[in-house]
């Protein structure tokens, strides 16, 4: 199965070398081809489902619980400033 690898790379924000593209492109195609076999199954009598678990209406009461201490929340941040997570400049 043919894959638009450039598009997938863009969506996933992944950069691949020419060699990697030559290797991964066909592999991705094979995976999708494998999944694509599902199309052959006759599902005309089957209800569409979004979940494997037959559960609905899982809800909690609207109650405030403690949040993380600020320092704890920031612990993984490679850079911070004024209590904010620092990221590359946002253009949009």
């Amino acid at each position: 199965m043919q894959v638009d690898l450039q598009h997938v790379m863009k969506l996933a924000r992944v950069e691949l070398s020419a060699e990697e593209q030559a290797l991964l492109g066909p592999q991705l195609g094979q995976i999708l081809g494998y999944i694509d076999q599902l199309r052959k199954v006759d599902v005309s009598g089957v209800e569409p489902t979004a979940h494997a678990v037959p559960l609905v209406n899982v809800m909690r009461a609207d109650e405030v619980q403690p949040s993380l201490p600020h320092a704890e929340a920031m612990r993984n941040a490679p850079a911070q400033r004024a209590g904010l997570f620092v990221v590359p400049p946002v253009l949009e």
């Binding site: 209406n57 809800m59 609207d62 405030v64 619980q65 600020h70 209590g83 997570f85 400049p89 946002v90």
Partner: protein, 474 residues
Amino acid sequence: MEYEPAIGLETHVQLKTRSKMWCGCANEFGAPPNTNVCPVCLGMPGVLPVANEEGLRKTVLAGLLFGCEIPPRAKFDRKNYFYPDVPKNYQVTQYDQPSTRAGHLDFEFEGRVTRVRITRAHLEEDVGKNNHFETHSGVDFNRAGVPLLEIVSEPDITSPAMAFEYLNALKEVLIQGGISDCDMEKGMVRCDVNVSVRPRGASELGAKIEIKNLNSFSAARRALEYEIRRQQGVVAQGGRLAQETRRWIDDAGVTELMRSKEEAHDYRYFPEPDLMPMEPGAAWLESVGRGMVELPLARKQRLMQDFQLPASDAQTLATDPALGDYFEKAACGAKAPKAIANWIINNLRAQLAHSGATLALVRFAPGAIAELAGLVDSGKISSKIAQEVFLEMFATGDAPGAIVDRKGLAQVSDTGAIEKLCDEAIAAHPKSAADYRAGNVNALNFLKGQVMKASRGKANPGLAGEILDRKLKA
């Protein structure tokens, strides 16, 4: 050829809940950055979101207020995109099975009731907030995961002014329904607009152009005014418009291209595996429906119908539900509801504003206003004295009748007493008396003023005028 616009709006409002949509962090504006955050709303791996029932209730209640269908089943989906304010790299939303669909909003525009169809109102989550520094940006995730209602209209809106009124009416319904505080300053309401132009009368819509970055209703109106002129200019010169997203630059008053159709985002929606679908069911819907309120427009129309109020009074009372309730209690069964509306809208509101009190703290019952209006209507007190009685009522909470008796404020309609005051006024001001006899009508008003003053405002002014006139013409 004349080209007319077709406008659709996507309005996002933050729901009024105590906690966020999928975690227990506070839904609170103005906290120090990244203090209302936890592993769930920071998008840490291995966490499990659980839906806040209040967010779902408010979503469905909004749908009921807009007369929407409530489908028997709704589900959540992931909308995938990379952006620093989206910690999970997807936003949870309702894609193909929203909680509400196919409703409408009626509102007054240019003196007529206008209807805009609402395609859907669905539940999603807010994202974090970017702060811009010189060379980088900083993200605050306090807002990430706050429940957000997206209300999508059909392209039924035909002018920027109509879009503006739609937004105001929408906000009013959401505030009165307790769905959202809609505080613009706190960014609780944001909107995107879709606008296209087509030859007048054409049934097919032109290329849809979306405008982002609209921070206020007036910005939406200005952006639409600009964009419609721009689009009309393009087609007038034989140009073609293509689907694209533009950005409103408020300072410059222009829109500029953000991305074309080719660059449009590919969101790859798929069902959110961590959240179970919602099946409202009759009992749950019934309990949500108990939160229904009368829509402001319906109330305005009813107040005009039932109490013969002018539109402006009815509008004032419909915009302030507590004041409207107060009026209805006061005016129930009253002979002259308009007078009661005047007391409430003018005097009561002024005193509340002056004293900083709220309606709940008013010391007299609504019926006291009706009693006061009745005292004026029956001629027991003059309208001038009534102002004094009202201030005393506001200060003490005493009944108007009791105040009139206690302070001896009853209007004097006793002819004998007024005759005496008239004689005294004529004797004290012979020149005015002569002027009136010579045909100067104003002279009578002066003499009447003297009688009123001598009676400390209690004389029946009509009667005083009649008696003076009779005596001077005799």
